[in-house]
């Protein structure tokens, strides 16, 4: 299948600073593609290049397998960095301008304004909006004409917790409707909940890309506790396939060579050996620590 977006060694320099260093990856159709990286890692620069507002210093990219053109951008709903609207015009009027540029019918505006719950404020000027409302208007603008691809750069910026949850729901709904979503974020929890694929950037370099599971291998372990810790330790030491055992107060963290055994089996095994467990918990490394580990490794 032709990738929705394909990058081939994109570079970008600002004077002496190299913001992007030969970044290449493909965004498969129908994926929710997270572009991850700490602040200043080049996420927005990368999206700026593929939306033709920044001139790349090297490399090439293609949308839908074709060389870039403004016609393709009309079929992509993009929120880049900040909501950009004419401050002195109303929400409705601003969206009419976007719709006209995108060659989309203006009667779709009502639908998208209702979707982000701004319909009641459609005649208010943009400058009277709060940060969260501005962000929601920008998302509404992306959705005009029901595009098949959406590009969101930090879409939950400035939103309150319920707003963040709504946007997450929206992204999940859009993904379920078969749309391709490119999502740049430094908020891992956001990405962890919705993304199928990721690309990780650090200081302009692509560290890893691919589907979430393989790109961010998250370590798994099982925590066990008992009243008789000595005896439990002896049992665990005899177990095959154990990588390491870390003692942490009233329980052990047991790392297995993959895959980890079924906790139920572990429980009955211990019981057979004459020990009753008072604590048994399978654990998985959070995406955050996997991410920090990955980015630290590179910078060291």
């Amino acid at each position: 299948m032709t990738p929705v977006l394909s990058l081939k060694s994109i570079s970008k320099t600002y004077g002496r600073i190299q913001a992007l260093k030969g970044v290449s990856f493909d965004v498969p159709p129908g994926s929710v593609f997270g572009i991850l990286g700490p602040n200043g890692s080049g996420k927005t620069t990368l999206l700026g290049v593929v939306m033709d507002v920044l001139a790349s210093s090297g490399g090439s990219y293609s949308w839908f397998g074709n060389p870039p053109s403004e016609k393709q951008r009309r079929e992509i709903g993009t929120l880049l960095e900040t909501p950009n609207f004419y401050h002195y015009l109303s929400a409705q009027h601003n969206l009419e301008i976007s719709a006209a540029i995108k060659h989309k019918p203006a009667d779709d505006i009502e639908r998208v304004l209702k979707l982000v719950r701004l319909y009641e404020r459609k005649d208010s000027k943009f400058q009277t909006f709060s940060l969260g409302m501005k962000q929601r208007l920008a998302i509404a603008s992306c959705l005009i004409g029901n595009p098949s691809v959406l590009v969101f750069d930090e879409p939950t910026n400035g939103l309150d917790p319920s707003g963040i949850a709504e946007i997450r729901e929206l992204i999940i709904e859009l993904a379920a409707a078969g749309k391709t979503i490119i999502l740049a974020s430094h908020l891992l929890a956001e990405v962890e909940k919705v993304c199928t694929h990721v690309a990780i950037l650090q200081q302009g370099e692509l560290i890893k890309s691919g589907d979430v599971k393989s790109a961010l291998s998250q370590e798994e372990w099982i925590e066990l506790g008992s009243a008789e810790m000595e005896k439990l330790k002896a049992i665990l030491d005899r177990l095959s396939g154990v990588n390491k055992i870390i003692s942490s107060g009233n329980h052990f963290q047991v790392y297995f060579k993959s895959p980890s055994p079924d906790p139920a089996w572990l429980n009955s095994h211990c019981f057979e050996q004459g020990i009753a467990l008072n604590y048994l918990q399978p654990r998985k490394e959070s995406l955050e620590s996997a991410f920090i580990e990955l980015t630290n490794n590179v910078s060291n």
Binding site: L54, A55, E70, R73, T78, F85, Y86
Partner: protein
């Protein structure tokens, strides 16, 4: 701002009209300066006076263009599906439309003063010197595109206006110095000066020798073509830069 321009061109001309009409001794009932506001002289006088106000459309252009930068809507328009070329050509078209509109106001002003100063002895409404309207249009385009150029380069409205005025003053200074002190003629062909020269100062018309007048007449095609050349160069630079730069 546009309405300010609409008011200012006739109003400023009225002030000058009032001044020329009432401030000089009249000899045999005739103004010392002739009748700068009656046909056909009015076609020179009004564009000349309006030419002093050309900073006004320039301010409007700088404000409109730097607004796009401060609201970052120039980026959003590209992201939403305009090509960079389309965006900048629309801006250049806006400049042309504004200049056409202001020229139209100047024509109406000319007609107004032409008619109120008409005496029975004078010829009917004369279009004899209407070519000055064209010169005015060229002069305004020249100034307006310089404004567009500074707006694009500097991006911040206050600073762009400051630089625009600074350039206006510095060029005039260089022109005065060059022409009167160093006796060089190339200063006549600087961007703003060359288009200013299309409309010579009309009030002391009677004191200009016929030799000087015909010398000016001979230079008009050169002034006009150099002004147009500047206009083409500005359009080229502005559109080239907008198509290549980071937005």
């Amino acid at each position: 701002m546009l309405s300010v321009i609409i008011v200012c061109i006739p109003a400023f001309n009225y002030v000058i009209y009032d001044f020329t009409d009432n401030s000089f001794p009249k000899i045999n009932g005739q103004n010392l300066l002739g009748n700068p506001f009656s046909f056909p002289n009015v076609w020179k006088t009004v564009p000349y006076n309006a030419g002093i106000l050309l900073f006004m459309p320039a301010i409007l252009i700088i404000t409109l263009f730097t607004n796009e930068y401060s609201y970052r809507t120039h980026r959003q328009n590209i992201i939403d599906g305009w090509s960079r070329a389309r965006f900048i050509y629309i801006k250049i078209t806006e400049v042309f439309l504004l200049c056409i509109f202001v020229t139209f106001i100047a024509v109406l002003t000319c007609l107004y003063f032409g008619f109120i100063t008409r005496t029975p002895m004078q010829p009917k409404a004369g279009w004899q010197e209407y070519r000055f309207i064209l010169y005015f249009f060229v002069e305004m385009l020249d100034y307006s595109l310089i404004a567009l150029f500074f707006a694009m380069l500097i991006r911040r409205s206050g600073l762009a206006m400051g630089i625009f005025f600074l350039y206006m003053i510095i060029e005039q200074f260089v022109v005065s110095l060059g022409r009167n002190k160093f006796k060089v003629t190339w200063v006549d062909y600087l961007p703003e000066e060359v288009s200013d020269r299309l409309i010579p100062q009309p009030f002391t018309r009677r004191m200009v020798s016929p030799a000087d007048a015909s010398l000016w007449e001979k230079h008009v095609p050169l002034y006009l073509s150099i002004s147009v050349l500047y206009i083409v160069i500005y359009i080229f630079i502005v559109s080239w830069r907008f198509r290549k730069a980071d937005l």
